[in-house]
Symmetry: C2
Subunit: 222 residues, 2 copies
């Protein structure tokens, strides 16, 4: 794994907010580890389509799965995708509204989506599942039919960039002494307490992976 | 405003999870009102690109703004866009991992992005700004230069659909009496308390729109 500060290609070089652009693989991975869902874009005959999906991380690739990926790829002209993961950390309130912003962590990955199959698909599905709550090993193992119905795709993190904004608003010097407030309204995202299914029978144990998430920050920072 | 239960075009008809598909304009608007950011996809010469953006709602249109929109349109082949807004409400833990899901509210809008200009642009910018925290009227009004630098685009809600999932996992009948737990781990997203900017001088009042958000659910449900 390289940890270069240089963009891997011209098309991943950020056009705006260059001071907040990050190309280091370690920081890109940190954002992806803290994220929950990805927005995946493909081009169809009828134009672009963007759908939310769960994902997982392995070495230098992002893994996505499910019937959604399937439908997107079948409807798409190619497997060329853009996968974007965004975490909103707060609202940045400036002294004038057009200087307002958000504090956020976002990663944009562009590349070809490659089909993952065979034994590797099993490993990939576990990684995707456990990204949100590790419970693969404590649940009923997938049946052959369930396994076959699920599609897994992999995209390399080669053409990836992160954009991170934190801290105070940046106001005009002439506004600093003005009568207007400036600051940040933080956005807190946390897991609540597990709620048992209405059809639960007996007294099965809540998976450790679920218990460990309860009450914690859903988007840990660094 | 029509409130039809029928999809407006074939390409907005959901292929999966039909039981959770919603085409009623009122429900689509409810999700968009509760959302914070949109993921906007366009097609460029180098393939699809998906970027996070703030947005606002007016009658039958969604409004997006900023230099990002500008760059996307300049780099794009056309103004054909897909705007997706997703709210994650919880993790749905089934008795077997490939039945896991998320509880979520999501809207997908496809259409042409039209430039908003003149006096209408001023009104549109206020709507976008106040979608997240109404403070346009209590801040320093935008200068002519700030106003000119900002681009606003509008997309009609004609080709829009919502997908909403709530409640318990749906497990196989044969798994119900098994030894595995099933339920939901809710995801709570709320605004914290406002934090004043380090460069704040004097004692300006925190805007009412910010105070009103503090401590509240950031994605109110219905």
């Amino acid at each position: 794994m390289t940890d270069s500060q240089q963009p891997a290609s011209a098309r991943t070089t950020l056009k705006r907010g260059k001071d907040r652009a990050v190309y280091a693989r370690s920081e890109i991975r940190e954002v992806l580890e803290a994220g929950l869902i990805a927005h995946v874009g493909v081009v169809t005959e009828q134009g672009p389509i963007v759908l939310p999906m769960v994902y997982g991380l392995r070495d230098d690739e992002i893994l996505i799965h499910g019937g959604v990926a399937n439908a997107m790829l079948r409807g798409g002209r190619s497997a060329d995708v853009c996968i974007t993961v965004t975490i909103v950390d707060g609202l940045v309130v400036a002294r004038t509204p057009l200087h307002n912003s958000m504090n956020y962590r976002s990663v944009v990955i562009r590349g070809e989506a490659i089909l993952v199959d065979g034994d590797d698909k099993f490993a990939a599905l576990k990684i995707i599942n456990d990204h949100i709550a590790p419970m693969w090993d404590t649940a009923r193992p997938p049946s052959d039919a369930e396994f076959r119905q699920t599609m897994v795709l992999s995209v390399e993190l080669t053409e990836a960039s992160a954009k991170i904004r934190g801290g105070d608003p940046i106001d005009d010097e002439s506004d600093i002494d003005g009568p207007y407030w400036a600051g940040v309204l933080p956005l807190n995202t946390s897991w609540g307490d597990p709620i048992a299914s209405a059809d639960l029978r007996g007294d099965p144990a809540i998976p450790d992976g679920v218990i460990q998430r309860a009450g914690t920050n859903a988007h840990p920072n660094g």
